[in-house]
Symmetry: C2
Subunit: 449 residues, 2 copies
């Protein structure tokens, strides 16, 4: 292990860095790599943000290894950037100060499933699809679905959400506890398997959404749900965007326990039909799903159909079979790729804000937009940036948030002060208390002086 030590807040000396990398290479052999393609792949941004590759990639396999690597990196002041599947959208995986991308995808064991307690314990590299495949025979499922087959560790770190959040909640609600390696290499376990606790500060929820800046998650205890007796999925096209919104708000106010409700506008529907080879109506359309007992789900459908009819909604078109349901929701989740296909070669900015329901009456008020930019069109890029600034300003004016589920990363740093005011100072005070050397995913969420 290296002997050249840097001081707090300093960039690592080149010799310290090289000594560290030599030590890590000899310790982890082929699991430590400085290959250019691997490094660039690990800074994958899926977005317009410039790739800033780490200096090296290391594949960790245990909590103890993560702790060992963090300790070594801390001693040399070298940043550590945790990596799951590379599907984040705001530059979370970039390495603006260099450092080691710590790939956790091999930590993919499901450690326990407690049927009776409706919970499970998983390593961070388990993806949501892998978990649900594993759970299928148990009659349980994990509901958070951000579209991409993301790792559960990454989903926790970015406080991910998705189309099921209206009924089942987000990662904020469904992570009961976790194990994390802190900036000094110590290992902390938060929460537990009790459904509720009032025993001290809520460290679980402090780490969920901290984007790898306070600790590296190495295991998660997740809340599960029973697969409902009946699942009904369908779409409902509306005469107007307003009608679709009004129908949603009425259903939510009446307490219809919607499992999913998502709105796509006519441009998005055209893109989805073309990309996913569907023949859905190309007007403002609600994607819906109802969960319950057979009688309960039918009752929800009848209530919703009556509301929709009063707001200019057409007939509900049902996907009865599991494969049709999957195809329908896959189309919704492939919206990103469908929009990309509209203009091949263009850059895509997938962004989101979230507002109170009354300001955008669909589901949980989460609004997504995906402007396409010709990379050669500098003026176009500027216009899109101005549009995004206005979008966030409007969301905040409605007492909303600059991001509902994508996270801050690098892309939304400049909006955080407008949203949280002095709260950003509180976040920075916590960051400095827990990571005084700023080695855990530096340059994300806020710019430290």
């Amino acid at each position: 292990m290296p002997t050249v030590m840097a001081k707090a807040g300093e960039h690592p000396a080149d010799e310290a860095k090289e000594a560290l990398f030599a030590a890590l290479g000899s310790r982890f052999s082929e699991r430590f790599s400085r290959s250019q393609s691997l490094r660039e792949q690990h800074a994958n941004t899926l977005t317009w943000l410039k790739v800033q590759a780490p200096d090296a990639v290391l594949f960790a396999e245990t909590t103890e290894e993560v702790a060992e690597v963090v300790k070594a990196c801390a001693a040399s002041r070298v940043p550590v950037i945790p990596f799951g599947t590379g599907t984040s959208l705001e530059g979370h995986l970039n390495a603006p100060y260099g450092g080691v991308s710590l790939d956790l995808s091999r930590m993919n064991r499901i450690l326990a499933v407690h049927d009776a307690d409706l919970d499970c314990i998983v390593e961070p590299g388990v993806t949501r699809k892998a978990l649900n495949d594993h759970l299928r025979d148990s009659g349980l499922f994990f509901p958070v679905n951000p579209g991409a087959d993301a790792s559960l560790g990454g989903m926790a770190a970015t406080r991910a959400s998705g189309t099921n959040a209206v009924r089942y909640g987000t990662m904020r609600d469904l992570v009961l506890g976790l194990t994390a390696v802190l900036a000094d290499g110590s290992v902390v376990t938060t929460g537990g398997r009790a459904r509720k606790s009032s025993a001290g500060y809520d460290l679980t929820r402090l780490l969920v959404g901290s984007e790898g800046t306070l600790g590296i998650i190495t295991s998660l205890t997740l809340k599960l749900y029973g697969i409902p007796e009946t699942i009904l999925s369908g779409v409902c096209a509306f005469d107007s965007l307003e009608g679709a919104c009004n129908a949603t708000i009425a259903a939510l106010q009446m307490g219809v326990p919607l499992a999913r409700i998502e709105l796509a506008d006519e441009v998005q529907m055209r893109a989805c039909n073309a990309y996913s080879r569907l023949t859905l109506p190309e007007s403002s359309t609600l994607f819906l799903e109802f969960h319950g007992t057979e009688a309960g789900a039918r009752e929800q459908v009848e209530t919703f159909a009556a509301i929709a009819a009063a707001e200019g909604g057409g007939e509900l078109r049902w996907a009865e079979r599991q494969e049709d349901r999957t195809r329908l929701w896959q189309a919704r989740h492939d919206a990103y790729w469908a929009v990309r296909a509209l203009k091949p070669g263009a850059d895509l900015i997938a962004t989101d804000v979230c507002v109170p329901i009354s300001a955008l009456a669909v589901g949980d008020g989460n609004f997504h937009v995906m402007p396409l930019i010709d990379p050669a069109d500098a003026a176009g890029r500027l216009r899109v940036q101005e549009f995004l600034d206005r979008l966030v300003a409007r969301a905040l004016a409605f007492e909303g948030t600059c991001t509902g589920e994508h996270g801050v990363g690098q892309g939304k740093i400049n909006y955080l002060a407008a949203e949280h005011g002095l709260g950003v100072g509180v976040m920075i005070a916590i960051k400095k208390a827990l990571d005084p050397l700023n080695i855990l995913n530096p340059g994300k969420i806020f710019a430290l002086p």
Copy 2:
């Protein structure tokens, strides 16, 4: 304002304290008091913990006043202990280092109710009953119900829960955002009215459950629910405690959306019948409530009745009318007073732990016990203390928590390290970063060196 300044970590000099109190007295006149009875009433512990009265009581009426008082107290190193209704159970309101009890009960305005968004904004002194009375005509309600008519600020500060938590969640889930005065007197606003956000650290949930040690909550944005179309309340007596537990776990696993389910043993039932003048069966009994549409609630009842019958449960006895329902749940919530009445003059320790459902298959796994102690019986007190130690040790062995909903306060400080290990160090690091002078409710949650 005082000119004699103490240094960090020091106890305030008497002269600094007296200068501060003189200044506060002249600024707030009759809203600042040093009356002995008022001071003792504000350290009300409702429990076996010794009363440690504050030096003074101050009634604040605005966020600005709270900030002003905190700034003045910080300058003189005098502790500030926020006070709501005085119904906490673990010594949260005691003043082991003296200081000012900041009574927020006059900050009791409901600032906004957003029907369409199913949320409201309230001052911290609004009680849960006052909020629900105000909401009644809107068709909405706030579901967290810890029994006592606690203030919503205090409920947030202690991460309160209650009989509705199985279905609707706890204060952790239902506080969307808040305003708090920090240790330096600055005012921070966290969260917002969007239903979800991934914009930075979750300061809302850090402050919820921080027991006044990180900030003083001066307003809350709360999630509301529509009053269900049908509410069915009742009791079901079982042949055995085990049968009642098994019926509960089966219902939860089948996904019956129980609104409330609570178990009382035969001793508790005897106490409740005597205190609340009821004639309920005096054996292990489940208190139940089902919410839904008329058809949905009936379907839940039928499903539950079939499960109960298979586990030695008797007939479900219904409280059809609103006043009968209220009387039934009031009896459950009066359990504390009912137990007190069993042995007048005895000290009562109302404590709780929480474990995974399979380890105590009722509701959310929250277990309450209320030993009575003759104040003159020192050996008896020691036996109860040993019992409480064993109770927590067993809960932790089941991966549970030392407190499900009462909080740590002073009474559970000694258990925190066993539950959280290094996590307590993380909590202390956060406390020191945000309250370096340790003036906000010192001596609670953890003992600082």
